[in-house]
């Protein structure tokens, strides 16, 4: 119970405190501290798990998400401390807004953690909504034209998505009610999963379509992705990092839970084809869109759409190998993409712009930052020794065995993305120096920590981890 209290309590108390603390240095440290406590509590969960209650649930599946989420939350808070200091110095943010920013950051962490540990589909929905609203506030924090447009778009699309998801949730409850009876039991994951075989399959099918559209909007799947690039590009960079690294995962987690439910109901439709179609569409669309990006954060936002496409595709293919690959890809993407956003944040600060055309020769002007970015982009593009390569390889090989045609499309999308990313990278990292050359004054620890993890995962995956992921993959069906 202590672990759960830490995961949920630390961000909540942190949010309340940070709303009150005026000074920048103190609040940044408090932010880091609260994130660290949550991360430590999440690590405790690895050793000892509380019993599933009516509202809280910790099982093999969500532990992965919780640990990943609190870890990235912690490293991002470290990055945020140095990033936000610069924003304050350049007067892009006032101290009052900074206070607001830190409180919202912890509130978002609370919402995401709550969504991950809740054993109740209604509670989970509320938590996702909470996390969304707090990120909306942060995306609009700069109050420029573009930031407001992005926040508005995000808010409207996100609300529509979340509304559809709620409708789906209600339908799931309706399907469950005749079997498990009304009340809280009718919304508890553990109970639902146990009795799913008796649910009305037709009702569950319709519910899943709504849930897929609703939470799929949050995941950033192709036809509903319009909010994602804007929200990533216009908000503060730490928010881009947590959006890509965490919030998308939380929505994905919800989808996976409902997919398990549908899989446990024999008469239902197979959710696979739907997810495969959406995933593949996202992958191909985003890969093509990568070529015309001129804004560096937008570029990586589209790359996030692309990767979420791959992940959803992998989970749609299902089977032990597909699920394993999807899970691994998700972890690798979270780590790599947040590392990239860490470096991009500093790059944009030293260059004073987000336009790709106005930056160049980064490896020459800022070697550490530049090579970090190169490593990150190489990793996200799926170049060998990094972990993303392993997971993408697994996705492709498992697909080739079962649906060669789909695999061809998948490879096509990946190659397109690779080309676009390398093209952009070469102009930013190499060639003549363009843009500002001032000192960075940044901490590179979070970025290199993430990259090191990804590198290690690419070379050697520890056996317990593999066993653990295999177990989850089997659970996912």
């Amino acid at each position: 119970m202590i672990a759960l209290a830490g995961i949920l309590g630390a961000p909540l108390i942190g949010a309340a405190l940070l709303a009150a603390i005026p000074g920048y240095r103190l609040s940044a440290r408090c932010n880091v501290l609260a994130s660290l406590v949550a991360f430590a509590a999440a690590l405790l969960l690895l050793h000892h798990r509380p019993q599933a209650g009516r509202f809280m649930l910790v099982d093999d599946l969500n532990v992965v998400f919780i640990v990943l989420s609190t870890f990235v939350g912690f490293t991002t808070s470290l990055f945020s401390a140095s990033y936000i200091g610069h924003e304050l110095a350049t007067l892009r943010l006032t101290p009052a807004y900074l206070r607001f920013y830190h409180a919202m950051y912890q509130l978002m962490m609370f919402g995401m953690n709550l969504a991950l540990v809740s054993n109740n589909i209604g509670l989970m929905w509320v938590a996702v909504e909470l996390a969304t609203l707090s990120t909306v506030m942060m995306v609009g924090i700069y109050r420029t034209h573009e930031a407001l447009e992005a926040a508005w778009k995000y808010f409207i699309l996100g609300s529509v998505g979340i509304a559809l998801a709620l409708f789906g949730t209600i339908l799931v409850y309706l399907a469950a009610r005749p079997v498990v009876g009304g009340g809280l039991d009718g919304m508890a994951w553990t109970v639902l999963l146990m009795h799913a075989a008796g649910f009305d399959p037709a009702l569950l099918d319709v519910a899943f379509v709504f849930l897929l559209l609703g939470y799929g909007t949050k995941v950033g799947l192709a036809p509903m992705h319009a909010w994602l690039p804007d929200a990533h590009a216009e908000g503060p960079t730490p928010i881009s990092a947590v959006l890509s690294g965490l919030l998308l995962n939380v929505a994905l987690y919800a989808l996976l839970r409902f997919k398990m439910l549908l899989a446990a109901c024999p008469g239902g439709i197979a959710p696979g084809p739907l997810m495969i179609a959406l995933g593949l569409a996202s992958l191909l669309f985003a890969s093509l869109m990568l070529y015309r990006r001129r804004d560096i954060k937008r570029l990586f936002a589209y790359s996030s759409i692309e990767h979420m496409g791959i992940i959803v595709f992998a989970f749609g293919m299902a089977g032990p190998l597909g699920n394993f690959a999807g899970l691994l890809q998700m972890v690798m993407h979270s780590l790599t993409k947040s590392a990239i956003f860490f470096s991009v944040g500093h790059v944009a600060q030293v260059k004073g712009t987000q336009r790709i055309a106005e930056m160049g020769g980064l490896t020459e002007s800022h070697p550490l930052l530049g090579w970090g970015l190169v490593a990150g982009v190489a990793a996200i593009a799926g170049m060998p020794p990094f972990g993303v390569f392993t997971s993408e390889f697994l996705v492709i090989s498992s697909t080739f065995a079962r649906a060669p045609l789909l695999a061809v499309l998948l490879v096509l999308g990946l190659l397109l993305a690779l080309g676009a990313l390398l093209l952009r990278l070469s102009s930013v990292a190499f060639g003549p120096v363009r843009g500002g050359t001032g000192p960075t004054g940044a901490s590179f620890v979070p970025m290199f920590a993430h990259l090191a993890l990804v590198l290690v995962a690419g070379i050697y995956l520890p056996a317990p981890l593999v066993a653990w992921f295999q177990h989850i993959a089997a659970l996912l069906g």
Partner: protein
Amino acid sequence: MSGGLSLSVANTLAGLMVLASFLMIYQDRLSALINVLAAHAFVLALAVAWQAHVQDAPELYVTAAITLGFKAMALPMALRRIIVRLGLHREIEAVTGVGLTVLAGIGLVALSLDVMLPVTAHADPLTREDVTLALSVVLLGLLMMVTRRNAVSQVAAFLSLENGIDLAAAAAQGMPMVVEISVAFSLLVAFLVIGIFLFRIRERFDSVDVRALDAFRGERR
């Protein structure tokens, strides 16, 4: 209480919500739109109260009261204040293709009937109709969000969509209170966000027309 009457009252109230959604689509004056929105929420409150009565679920009365006080009174009042303060209360929104939109809306109602009725064949008839018509209201809200360009009317459309979901939640018998409270709460938060955004938008653009926002697509700088 005879089954037939309780059913027909529930059906009537839900149908009136669908009708109010259509009126919102049809309405081009912002102040009138907000009036219709208030009526929409008012009918929702009645429908929820009726469900409370029929299901003998006292907690639904609370939901009905929240709906009545917050959505049917406080929210429209606040929206009205906003449009007055922004000087929009006499504004007429150029809504193009109302006829086509209404036809599309009727198609959506037919779609929701076609999807939901067979699926919920085993459910209680009361639940069944309300959920079906709730889906219509949700889809109509979506349609309106797509067709409107004005930020205030998009917000109104979103609120009507939320009303539809509330109806479905009330009709799902025995659904725990958690959800209702959360909906009210999230609406509160949503409204805060909306209010702040509207004012900011006004401050920056001198217009609440979302088209003005589209001009600033991040790509073309």
